[in-house]
Symmetry: C2
Subunit: 496 residues, 2 copies
Amino acid sequence: MLEKIDLNRKLPKSEYKSLIGELERRIGKLQRDARKLKIPVVVVFEGWDAAGKGTLINNLILALDPRGFKVYPTNAPTQEERLRPWLWRFWIRTPARGRLAIFDRSWYGKVLVERVDEIVPKEEWTQAYSDINSFERHLSDDQIVLVKFLLHIDKKEQKKRFEKLLANKSTAWKVTSDDKRHHRQYNLYYRAFEEMLERTGTEWAPWTVIEAHDKKFATIKMLTTLIDALERRIAGSNSQGKEGHHDAPVKESAGPLDLSTSILNSVDLSENLPRDRYSSASKKLGKRLLELEHEVFLKRVPVIIVYEGWDAAGKGGNIRRLVQGMDPRGYEVVPFAAPTQEEKDHHYMWRFWRVLPKAGHITVFDRSWYGRVLVERVEGFCSEEQWSRAYREINETEQQWCDFGAVVIKFWLQIDQAEQLRRFEARQRTPHKQWKITDEDWRNREKWEDYSAAVEEMLLKTSTTYAPWTIVEANDKPFARIKAMKTVVQALQRRL
Amino acid sequence: MLEKIDLNRKLPKSEYKSLIGELERRIGKLQRDARKLKIPVVVVFEGWDAAGKGTLINNLILALDPRGFKVYPTNAPTQEERLRPWLWRFWIRTPARGRLAIFDRSWYGKVLVERVDEIVPKEEWTQAYSDINSFERHLSDDQIVLVKFLLHIDKKEQKKRFEKLLANKSTAWKVTSDDKRHHRQYNLYYRAFEEMLERTGTEWAPWTVIEAHDKKFATIKMLTTLIDALERRIAGSNSQGKEGHHDAPVKESAGPLDLSTSILNSVDLSENLPRDRYSSASKKLGKRLLELEHEVFLKRVPVIIVYEGWDAAGKGGNIRRLVQGMDPRGYEVVPFAAPTQEEKDHHYMWRFWRVLPKAGHITVFDRSWYGRVLVERVEGFCSEEQWSRAYREINETEQQWCDFGAVVIKFWLQIDQAEQLRRFEARQRTPHKQWKITDEDWRNREKWEDYSAAVEEMLLKTSTTYAPWTIVEANDKPFARIKAMKTVVQALQRRL
């Protein structure tokens, strides 16, 4: 998930100033409301050394009534704490109803520092995931609002920050030998963070990754996320006791400012490939794909390839080029449109399970189970509860497939609105392509923003180490096709 | 859990006849209602070889409209099935809305025969528990009613049935060499069943253990449980879309007949101990307890001892005798009454976590977290949703404690109503004991039946391999004290 995050989000000082006062007032008000409604709140701050946890926590508590919260810094467990089950020290610090507990690092130490530094054996930190999920579920079922922040910076930024601290005598002491070692272990931590997000990003206790290069941006995003979670719960408390979901993407509570992760915005759509290079590359890759298809068959590896993307993003042509040189006995392309009545009468995953490739075969899904969190979400074909739950359901399912040995490759074909318009109009002008463009396509186009938000959340929540998304820059079709072919070749080579 | 089951439940033929017709009519009606409401239903039959799965399934489908259900016998996976992720063959057989799927053996084969026969390695069947829980949760979240039966018979009964089959030429072929081997492996299977119940008995897909020595009793219990689950769901569907819980104990839908497991009824309360034997035994055990307390300290084992039982069952005196000879620096007795305001303001487990013994120490809980599923349930201090959830919460929590190395010993002190009355009256007659008896005690006594049902369900759902309940026959106090002391001695010896 982290690789998809655009870390260069920034907020000009003037904009920060215009927002912060109002957010502080709102969070203060919400804290009072939560106290009145007896809603307990747990806020967790995790993240890289020097990512700015201290600053953010400070910016948060400055806005709060000090009688209503407590900050718990988490260090290595003391001797007393070691004598109890490991979650003991966190259980006894859970907040009373109406109060806030802020954890500066937390129970996640078990799957981060204790894992990376090999302080605990593998069985122990693997077990910790399920202990954590139980713990958080117990709290959430008891109506505690759980908000978890992961402050993310890249290795270069971390280095810069350490160097700045070291350059000044009065701050140099802050950089410990542990910090230096952790910096060298950046990649190990990165992997641990990734796995943590995958395994513990639940509906009841979702993670919010904060792009922390710019502290002003980070502060605004942190406050807005917390405000959003509290407002949802309070709205839920007021409406017939139904629980509010606090796992939806951050709404634009901060006014016109968009704080959601902007994976799509940072895609470079100017990528393109000259015709001659396309032709030689596609020939070469096509040959390699045929070889790999045979190897996959011999080694009994099932391969699942998913195509999702905007209308007119070129899925059909891309798929055709991918399978063009392959042996048809080894692969199958299955297109999915609206479900039939029989399919509607089953769980939404059922129709996809039915055509799952058997070991040694390749299935290309032209649209897929991701419809649940795209079209079904945006068009209201399923409830918020249903699509919110689907991220985890999908991750769990794909994990099972990968456990079985499957390779799962997922493409999101990205084009911009202007390009889509050009293609729609071209379709309408060209008689033999008119069938491809319907009123529905135009209607969907009007909901571009809603779909964008859904795509962003999908990419963030379902890009896992075992089944990552590949975003394909698809304004230029030749480039898109080569990128997809290359990605498949690489994924299969890695697996074989 | 299984050891607590009274297998000798029986139903006279006349009573069976008077019930079966009405149950068949009701299940037929419910099937039609479920079809109309588009409620899909999955029924799973697991159990010992020769436990009578075939008979029960037959008795079920005779009452059903054949157009609305399908029976899936589950054998070893075929070659085609082996080429897909292991749950594939079950996923594609999930029922359409409004239909019933009946599984004669099921996905539990992975943690039963495939485990016991070592067909799959340990990692695989351990992983299967979480795959199964995800699978069932996905189905349940999609509004599928899941009813799972485990047909239980003891080893002797199984042998008798095999011998009967073998004695007759026309049935002898039914007893395969696999069956014979499984019979020899009775203890291995027993353990596998126990673990299966513990790990997959969830709120969304609870197990019902059926005492299967008597097929008439088994049939009635199976039908009644299924009727109950369907009625609850249909009632839920009719009341503003709220999901019905189908995990509560079987109500007396079969009229005056009590079908719930009757753990308490089979307790032999005539157990007693002559005064002289009591005195020598308690002296000996007391000495041993002191030694063990020191060993526990040296080996840093935390020990958690829970006392629950009826009012006036003698918890206080029993605890006093237990700790009488022990070193007070190593143990603590913590009594729990109604929670304080501060305690109410936290999760119900919080006050118990706070006093959890540290490694090397012993804490005796005079009443405990089981209040959630006893007094809080019966008196309506928490919602059905809350106490239904609590069984799993408690099991998960105790599992964490045991993972940490704790020994968890739980006593239920059982007396009968007549004995309680004698003790209440004695308390009222004896001036220095009058403080012990309050109006509340009398009120609780009136709810004996409700409490009994709660106790039964608690014993069944929270007696785990890692933290089993010990039922103490407490009509005779000396007997009860010695049994508790012995149990603690044995549990500590086993651990050390």
